[in-house]
Amino acid sequence: MKFGIVRFPGSCDEVDAQLACARLGDAVILWHAERDLRGVDAVVVPGGFSYGDYLRVGAIARFAPVMGEVAEFARAGGLVLGICNGFQVLCEAGLLPGALLPNPSLRFIFRQVELEVARADTPFTRACPPGQRLSIPVKHTTGRFYAPEPELRRLEAAGQVLLRYAPGHNPNGSLRDIAGISNAAGNVFGLMPHPEHAVDPLTGSVDGLSIFASIRDQVADRVPA
C-alpha cells in the first residue's frame, strides 16, 4: 500500500499526513509541479494555504500540473482524500460538490470536535465502528460547507454525506452539519477536520487513524497481495 501526499507551495499539513499514512503503509510526497503520481494506490490532498490561497481558497491549486493527474486518477476510480485546504481544492476542481465559505465569525477556529459517522460502509469510513463518534480537530477560517438546497437534498439522498459534526459541535455553520462529503462515485472524499492530527495518543485522540485505515483496507481488498 502506497499513499501519495501532494505538496503545493503553501501546504503545511503534508508532513503530518505523510506520518499518519506511514503508520499504515508507504507514504511519498508528490510535488505539485510534477505530472507523476509515482504509482501510488491513494492520493491525499493535504491542508495548508496552497498558492497562498490567493483569489479564493483552493482556486489556483486546482490548476497545478499534479492536479491534472489527480483528476485522471479519480476518474479511473482511484481513491482521493482531501483534508481542509485539500477539500477546498477538490471542490474548486469540480471533483467534489459544493464549496467552502468563510466562517460566519470571520475567525480562525482551532478546536477538537466530535464527528458522527453518517456512513461506515464507504472506502473512507469502513474502518470506523458504526455509531462511533470521532474526536478530531478542526483548524480553519473558511470551512462552512455550502451547496444550494436542491443539491443538498440530492447529496443526502445519494448517501454522499459521510461525516457530520455531532449536535453542538458544528464550528462553522456548515449546512446540515456536513463535515465530510464524497463524490457520486464514492472514490473522492473531502473533510474539513484533520484526521492526520489525531493519530497519536500523545495529542489526545487516535480517531483519525480510522480514515487512513479505511483507505488501506479498501486498497487491500481491491489489489490482492
Binding site: A59, F63, E92, G98, L101, P102, S105, L106, R144, Y146
Partner: protein
Amino acid sequence: MRARVLVKPKAGILDPQGQAVERALPALGFDGVHNVHVGRLIDLDVEDPGRLPEMCERLLTNPLIEDYEIVEVAGQPQGSAA
C-alpha cells in the same frame, strides 16, 4: 481593453464580511445603511475581451457562490501589452 471584473457573493448566501461592515457603520454614526455586501474587483488588460466570461467562469469567480459583472474601464491598457 482595460477591463474590470466585479465579484460579489451570490444573493442569499451568508456574507459575514458584509454583515460586519453593516454593523460597524452605525457605530461611527452612519445610520440608515442596509444590505452591505463585500466583494472584490479585478482589473486586467485583455487582448480579447470576448474571452472574459470564460475567464470569470473558470478562474476569477466560483459560479456556485459568486456573481460577477464585467465593466469596461476608460483609458488605454497599461504597460508593454498596450
